[in-house]
Each structure stands twice: as structure tokens, then as C-alpha cells.
């Protein structure tokens, strides 16, 4: 069973990410059964069908998707994910910040795609509570070791999703 890091713990995970096959139609493509995270275009055209199914449903956003378009549905979803086609594509960080702060989403927020240990710290500070590296990218031992990255910076300068106040408001910093 694949493993993810959720709130700082390595845990087994049942969620499958459904990616629309090349040329497939979002309206008719076969969606796997079980806990599934569907792409936003599928959610847009099959919202009622997915909500009616017995399985929990999540939606993943691509970097080019507008999180505002999902804002009204956030309460209905068991999970939201953001895809990183490459780990150097940083749009997902701002999407996560928007989901957490602008749209008030408090449910599970998962980073999927090329999710690597050396981005865990920034991803979690941007609001992701679940980090799902590609299956097979890390051994169990490497994933356990990678949890330490979440604590790379004890007291960062910035306000962020997990530090709602910037350093200068969190602490009284003595003058020179």
C-alpha cells in the first residue's frame, strides 16, 4: 500500500489519483471505484454523479486551474489535491495559499505529482497537510527520514498558513 506523509506522520493511504487518459472525454471516462481524486474538469461535468457515489471523492487542481472555481464546492469534498507536474513548477504553492486563506478551506490538502522531500518544508508552510510523493520514489526508510525536513526551519520570517503571524508579530525582537 502506498504511503504518504500526513500531518507529520508516515501513514498508509488508500486514495487513488485519477488522471484523464490522453484523448479521453471528461464526461464519459471510466472513473475507478474506491477513494478517488478526480481532475477538476471531471468534477465540473460530473459533480452530481460523484457526490451520489458511496465512495469519498476528492478533486485535484492543475497549476492552470483557478481555485476560485472550486470555492463553492470545498465543503462537499473529502479532500483537495494540487498537482505538481514538475517540482520546479511553483504555481501550486500560491494555489494552496489561496485555498487556505482566501477560500477558508480547512480539510485535507494534498500535494501530488513530482513531490520531493526537499520541498516538504515549503509545501507544508504553504498549507499542504498531506505530501504524496510518487509511488516508489522513496523507500519507507527514506520517507521516515524525510519527515525531518518539515522542521528544517524552526521559526521562519514569514507569515504562512501554519504560521499565521510573521516573525516580527510572533516574538518581541529586541532592538539593536
Amino acid at each position: 500500500m502506498p504511503k504518504v506523509i500526513h500531518k507529520g506522520q508516515v501513514v498508509a493511504d488508500n486514495w487513488q489519483v485519477f488522471r484523464l487518459p490522453e484523448g479521453a472525454d471528461a464526461a464519459t471516462a471510466a472513473i475507478p471505484t474506491g477513494q478517488v481524486i478526480v481532475p477538476f474538469p471531471v468534477w465540473q461535468v460530473r459533480r452530481e454523479e460523484l457526490l451520489a457515489s458511496a465512495d469519498a471523492v476528492g478533486v485535484w487542481l492543475a497549476g492552470s486551474d483557478d481555485p476560485a472555481a472550486l470555492a463553492d464546492d470545498l465543503h462537499a469534498l473529502a479532500l483537495v489535491a494540487v498537482d505538481f507536474p514538475k517540482f520546479t513548477d511553483g504555481r501550486g504553492y500560491s494555489i494552496a495559499v489561496a485555498l487556505r486563506t482566501r477560500f477558508g478551506y480547512t480539510g485535507p490538502l494534498r500535494a501530488i505529482g513530482q513531490v520531493l522531500r526537499d520541498q516538504f518544508n515549503y509545501l507544508s508552510r504553504s498549507g499542504f497537510d498531506t505530501l504524496a510523493p510518487a509511488e516508489g520514489r522513496y523507500t519507507d526508510a527514506q520517507l521516515e527520514a524525510a519527515v525531518a525536513s518539515l522542521a528544517d526551519f524552526t521559526d521562519p520570517y514569514q507569515a504562512s498558513v501554519i504560521h499565521p503571524q510573521p516573525l516580527f508579530r510572533r516574538h518581541s525582537r529586541a532592538a539593536a
Partner: protein
């Protein structure tokens, strides 16, 4: 200058540990080159032509003497005894070993220095006026604001993987000495009628392949909103900047595609959500940081110093140096000294370990222990008593740091070019040297007067060639080095981009080309106008006619 507290130091120490762990995993084969690349770049480490290149950040150009000594130590211990000062007020080492870099970073951290975000697609070193705090024309000292932005940008989780690099510059004086119009964000600090500090916002300026001057999107934003406003700009850029083409990825392309009005609308929409939120600056925090930049303990001195004036009157070389390398200071009896890193035969911006130690000693003895780097690649001692100038000059001259050429033709800005940089199309250093050798006569240099020659080895424009009065750009044609020449570029309040004069030249032609451009200027000069004034008055044609019409320049037409 800003001194770290425990929070700053812990963050930097944690960065050292993080990078050391990443380097270890890379060397152990756990972290592939592709996965390691952005991490090493965010720590200033490039893989270059001969060896790694390690770029160290000097925030807004300020260096304490102990930091200079540390750089000298690194140059001796890990490099070949010298360093290169860049146009972005960074310091580059060209010969470190990859595996030594975490140790070098740890050494830097021991003197509150680092190589944070000196490369990569992130927020780079913040640039401010090298004469901040001492210039007579200053409205707002930008250093505290630059430090506030430095802290916000450092290890910022949301903006570490932008479409492309991102550079911010701050000006707070009547004369713009940082060229705010060529930055991704240029902030012009000023005061409103009520005396409150705020800033004008320019976005989308930049040199490189597509040189564009920044456009104004806000005329006056009160200081409290410095972070939230910049954050809103970055957020729009991070979401919508192009990622499909590296040459179209800078914010200038987005601003141009959307238009300034639509870009402003999107920024304002984001800003409405965060304005007055937690990132709003407090007076207490600004005061805490500003205290670090309080005036040093100046003595009350008379404006004139008789001994200095007598020394100047009796020594022609000292007088020449004072004329070119000494600047007015806001305090009576003080001056700012520019130490030249533009000695003929030495690559522009290169400085030896011994010279760095000498600058540190000079700073300690004569300038409150601090020095500053300029984007023209020289070093400033900002607070020297006039009565000490002669002693400073003697020591600087001994150390070969007193070439009296600041602002003159041989004070050339040049990137490291093809001798070192793997991006370069052509070499820069030999071009600079060829020109410097041609114009070695000081009297002739003084007659020519103020002129800026900027040389870049490729279109990334690290040598700022677009804004040189004479700009030289190295280009590759069928594997050969050629040089395209522009004239009429300018930095400062009247920033302008130079225009190409015609076909490119071979390296050996360049001293002749510059000679012809200068001869055209001297023939047409009216009264005491500068080269750039003449270009603006008479246009490009007379220069082109002289350069291309003259038979003694051998015609070599590339691709003919």
C-alpha cells in the same frame, strides 16, 4: 548595519544544516542532478565552465570589516586568492570545490553572511543605494526597508519556484543610483506632504534578452503595506507568469501581455485580500530595524579642512584622485571614498584577498568598520574624515585600489564573460582590457570626461550593456565571438536603453571602434557636455558614419 539577533542566526544555521544534508545526499547518489540543481542554485552554487561558481549575497551591498576578512579567508582557503564583485553587489568565487561549499557557507554564517537565493527562480538579493544614509540628496534611507524585504524574501515558502528569477531594487534619493526602472520591482521611496514615508511602484523592468523599462502601477503606497503589496505582485506573477518558455518567463513579459492597467487590477484584487493583514508592518518592527542604520558616531567637524586642502594643492596625483574618487557627504568634514576595482590589466570587479584585508583595515581605521559595494563594481568607504583622505589614499594606492578613474572611460562595468561563465557567448574581460589599454593616458581620460562603458558576454546582460553610454554585447556567430555595440544608453533618473549602431565587430576591432566613437564625440562636443549629452543632441548618424565609414577599420562582415 543590520546585526543578526538569535532568530536571524538560527534561521541561517538551519539553512547551513539543510544544505549540508542536501549536498551529502547528492554526493551519495540519493539526489539526482536534476533534483539537486534548484537546491544548489538557491544556495548560490553554479556549475561553470572550469569549476563550480559560488555566489555570495551582500544584502544591499553592505560589508562589515570582519565580513571582508572572512571573504579574504575564503579566497585564500577555498579559491585562488581572489574574488569577483558583481553588478548585483554579490561576490563570486570561480574555483571552489563542490563538496567544500557547505563548509564555505558555514564560515559565512559565522559572520552573518550567506549565499541565500543568489541564483534560482526566486527572490534575489535586494538592491539599494550604495550611498544610502550619507548622500545629501536622500529623502528616505532605504536600508531598513531593504532589510525588511530581505527577511520577507528569505526562505519564503510560496515564492521559491517562480517562473523565473526576481529582482527588487529600492531608491530613496533625488538621484536614482540603483536604476529602479530595470528591476522586476523598482520601489521609489519618498515622503508625502504630511511627511509620511511611502513608495512608488514600478514593475516589469529588466535588461536581458528583452530590455524594457518598468511601468508605474502605484504612485504612493504607505510604508505599512510594503510586504503585502510586494506579496500581491508576486502572487499574480507566480500564478500567471509564463512557464513554457524560459525566455518569456520574467514578469516583464506578463506585464506587457496583460498591459499595465490589467496587471494593476489583478494586483489590487490580491492586495484587497491581504491589506491590513498580519504582514502589515508595525511601527515597532520598522523602528527595531531602522535603529541598526542609525548614523555612526560622527564627530562635529568644520566643513573645510586646511591640512587636506594643502595636501591636495601640493600633490597632483592626490588631487586627481580626490576629484574622481571622493564624493560629497551629508556631514561637514566627511567624505565618501570610492576604491577603484578598475585597474588596467585586472578584470573589472576582481579583488584579491590581500586587497580585501586592506579594505577591511581601511574601514576599521577610517570609516566606522564598514564598506559598501556598488553595482559599478567598485567599493565605497562611506564615512571618511577629510583630514584622513590623504592617509587613505596612500594606503589604497599601495594596495592598487586608488586608480583615479571613477566615472571615466576605464571604469568599465563587465561581467566575467566567456572566460568563466558557461552562459556567455563571448569573453568580456579581454575586451575591457583592450579598451583600458588604449585609453591608458590619464590626461586624455580626463579630457574625455564622464562616460560609462558596459560589457556583457551574452544577452543575459549581467554587464548592464543596455544602459551603458557605450554598450558592448558579446554574440556568437557560427562559433566565433563578435561584439555588438550600442550607444545612448543611460542609467539614473533618465534611464534609457542604447541603440545598436550597426553590424558587430571582432574583438581586435573593439579598441578602434571605441576610439572612433570617442573621436566623433570630441569633434562634436559642445562646451563641457558629456559623451552621452552629445549622442542625445546629434543622434547616432555621425557616430555610425565615422565608425563604419572609416577605412582603417578592417571590414569583417559576419555571415557575409
Amino acid at each position: 548595519m543590520y546585526r543578526y539577533d538569535n532568530y536571524d542566526q538560527r534561521l541561517l544555521d538551519e539553512r547551513v544544516a539543510q544544505f549540508r544534508n542536501q549536498m551529502d545526499r547528492h554526493l551519495a547518489g540519493e539526489l539526482s542532478e536534476d533534483e539537486f540543481r534548484p537546491l544548489r542554485l538557491q544556495n548560490g552554487l553554479y556549475i561553470q565552465r572550469h569549476a563550480p561558481m559560488y555566489r555570495i549575497s551582500v544584502p544591499y551591498g553592505h560589508l562589515a570589516s570582519r565580513q571582508l576578512r572572512k571573504l579574504a579567508y575564503l579566497a585564500r582557503t577555498y579559491d585562488r586568492g581572489y574574488a569577483h564583485f558583481t553588478t548585483r553587489t554579490n561576490v563570486q568565487f570561480n574555483w571552489p570545490k563542490l563538496e567544500d561549499v557547505p563548509d564555505m557557507l558555514a564560515e559565512l554564517a559565522s559572520v552573518q553572511m550567506h549565499s541565500n537565493q543568489t541564483s534560482g527562480n526566486d527572490i534575489r538579493n535586494i538592491t539599494a543605494d550604495p550611498y544610502a544614509g550619507v548622500a545629501g540628496d536622500e529623502i528616505v534611507d532605504t536600508r531598513p526597508w531593504a532589510e525588511i524585504l530581505r527577511q520577507w524574501a528569505t526562505y519564503n515558502p510560496e515564492f521559491a519556484y517562480l517562473p523565473r528569477k526576481f529582482k527588487i531594487a529600492l531608491n530613496g534619493a533625488l538621484e536614482d543610483r540603483v536604476v529602479v526602472q530595470v528591476y522586476d520591482i523598482g520601489l521609489d521611496f519618498t515622503k508625502n506632504e504630511a511627511g509620511e514615508i511611502g513608495f512608488r511602484v514600478l514593475v516589469g523592468g529588466g535588461l536581458g534578452r528583452t530590455p524594457i523599462l518598468g511601468v508605474e502601477i502605484a504612485s504612493f503606497i504607505p510604508w505599512q503595506h510594503l510586504i503585502t503589496y510586494c506579496e500581491s505582485i508576486l502572487r499574480v506573477y507566480n500564478r500567471h507568469g509564463r512557464r513554457d518558455n524560459i525566455w518569456k518567463a520574467r514578469i516583464k513579459i506578463l506585464v506587457k501581455a496583460l498591459g499595465a492597467d490589467e496587471f494593476r487590477r489583478q494586483v489590487e484584487e490580491e492586495w484587497a485580500l491581504v491589506k491590513d493583514g498580519p504582514n502589515t508592518l508595525t511601527a515597532e518592527e520598522v523602528e527595531r530595524i531602522a535603529t541598526h542604520f542609525d548614523d555612526p558616531d560622527y564627530a562635529d567637524l568644520p566643513e573645510r579642512d586646511a591640512t587636506f586642502e594643502a595636501q591636495r594643492d601640493s600633490s597632483k596625483p592626490f588631487a586627481a584622485w580626490v576629484r574622481r574618487n571622493v564624493r560629497e557627504h551629508k556631514r561637514p568634514g566627511y567624505a565618501s571614498v570610492v576604491l577603484s576595482l578598475k585597474r588596467t590589466g585586472v578584470p573589472p570587479g576582481d579583488i584579491t584577498a590581500d586587497q580585501m584585508d586592506t579594505v577591511a583595515d581601511l574601514a576599521d581605521r577610517y570609516s566606522f568598520g564598514e564598506a559598501r559595494m556598488t553595482h559599478e563594481q567598485n567599493v565605497v568607504l562611506a564615512d571618511v574624515r577629510k583630514s584622513d583622505l590623504y592617509a587613505v589614499w596612500q594606503i589604497a594606492r599601495e594596495a592598487k585600489l586608488a586608480t583615479p578613474n571613477i566615472g571615466l572611460l576605464t571604469d568599465i562595468i563587465a561581467c566575467p564573460g566567456g572566460d568563466f561563465c558557461s552562459l556567455a557567448n563571448a569573453r568580456s574581460i579581454p575586451i575591457a582590457e583592450g579598451i583600458q589599454r588604449r585609453f591608458d593616458d590619464l590626461d586624455y581620460l580626463y579630457d574625455i570626461g564622464e562616460i560609462e562603458i558596459n560589457i556583457s558576454g551574452c544577452m543575459n546582460a549581467c554587464g548592464h550593456h543596455h544602459v551603458g553610454h557605450i554598450g558592448v554585447l558579446g554574440v556568437d556567430k557560427n562559433g566565433e565571438e563578435w561584439y555588438q555595440v550600442t550607444i545612448g544608453g543611460m542609467q539614473g533618473n533618465e534611464t534609457a536603453l542604447g541603440k545598436v549602431i550597426g553590424r558587430a565587430f571582432a574583438a581586435a576591432e573593439m579598441p578602434d571602434v571605441v576610439s572612433e566613437l570617442i573621436a566623433t564625440y570630441l569633434d562634436n562636443r559642445f562646451a563641457d557636455e558629456r559623451f552621452i549629452d552629445t549622442v542625445q543632441r546629434i543622434g547616432l548618424e555621425p557616430f555610425k558614419a565615422r565608425v563604419y565609414g572609416d577605412q582603417h577599420i578592417e571590414r569583417k562582415v559576419a555571415n557575409a
